[in-house]
Each structure stands twice: as C-alpha cells, then as structure tokens.
Symmetry: C2
Subunit: 101 residues, 2 copies
Amino acid sequence: MELLAIIKSLSNETRLNILKWLKDPFAHFPEEELSEDTPALGVCVSDIAEKAGMSVPTVSDYLKTMSAANILIATRKGQWTYYKRNEKSIQELAIYIKEKL
Amino acid sequence: MELLAIIKSLSNETRLNILKWLKDPFAHFPEEELSEDTPALGVCVSDIAEKAGMSVPTVSDYLKTMSAANILIATRKGQWTYYKRNEKSIQELAIYIKEKL
DNA sequence: TAGGTATTTAGGGAATTCCCTAAATTCGCA
DNA sequence: TGCGAATTTAGGGAATTCCCTAAATACCTA
C-alpha cells in the first residue's frame, strides 16, 4: 500500500471521475462499446478518453499512473487495453484510512 | 465532503505526515511543547514546522489548506494557532471511499 | 503604548503536473 | 508482408504546486 502514490493518482478531477465511471460502466459508457466481457475486463482506453473529453495519450497516461498505484487493473487483449477497478485495493485504502491514517 | 479538495490536501508527503503526527502528538512532538490541553487543542504551527523541518510560512499554509478541506481543526488561542485532526471527517472519508467511490 | 513572539500574507523562483501533438509501437488480418 | 486501428512513448508549452524570504498582522505583557 503506497498511500502517497495512491492519493496522488486520485488527486485530479478527471482521474477521480474515471474511477467513478468504472464503478458502473453500463451507466457511464455507450452500450454499443460494452460487451458481456465488460464486467471482467473493464473499458478500453479510447472509450474512456472519449467519455473524459480528453486526448487518448493523456488518458492512457492517467490510466497507467492509476494502475501503477494498483488502483486499476489493466488487461491487454489484442490491440486493446482494458482497465477496470481494483476493488480489493480500494477497500484496503478505505480500511487504511479508517484504521491507520 | 469535497472529496477532491480532501485528496489534494493529502497529496503531499509533508501534509500526510502532519496528519499522522497529529494522531498521537505525545509520540511525535517534544514533551516540553505539549500540555494537558494538547489532546483538545492539538499542536501549534511552529512546533509542527519544526518537526517537519520546513519554514513556518510553508507549514502555516499547509495547515490552512488542510483545515479548509475540513480534515484539520484550527483553534486560535492568544498568539498561537493550534491544529488537531478532525476525526469525524477522516472517518467520513474512509466511509465515502468504502461505499461511494 | 512599545516591544517581543506567533502567525499569516505577499511575492516569486524552481519543480512538478497537466494535457496537447507527433511519432513510434503493437497487434489483427487480408 | 503490409495496412489499419489502438495504444504508448516522446517532447514540450502552460498551469499549478512547492516552499522559500520579506513584510505585515495579531496578540501578549511591561
């Protein structure tokens, strides 16, 4: 648990929004971009960039930062990289703040 | 709960340390600087700056940011401003992350 | 009211973060 | 093999954050 790295990875409005959107992709991304694999894989970079209204490279880097902090999980599948939340880490963060911070 | 403001107020190593030090002032500040009022009031700016090894104005500003985010509580007493943790807000943060983020 | 101590406000240089475009890389498929 | 689509890497201008010194303010006490 690198608390500072996690907090920094969340200290930006867009990145915080991404985390929230990924909590329920079906509520936040166009249905035609999603599939039955979405719950297991997450959402691909370009769909997240589109939703964020930002360039793909910027969002790619944001997602990389968040998975480096272990708050997102990346899965490469063919030419796509899918990102989903790391629910375990998010719960650990909550517990750390509650008990240790 | 302004989540982004709270996270930003914690996204710096020194500020995060301050929050941890204030969890147990008697373990982190010289005894002669503390008193029976410490648990109720917290620790004054210059003692925190000294512990952090940073200038008083810098730490004063950090503390102001953290109390603006409602994560610390300031009490002015004479010429001193004491800062203590806002345990309620910290618990709310943990709960928000656990349940809403 | 004058002087001393604690803090805050102002101002600014250095470092970091934000977020873009261009180029490079990765991978699927004809 | 070669083209097209998705992503990542590189490079950099603009904005923000970091954290200092100097000056101003607040408050106490003689």
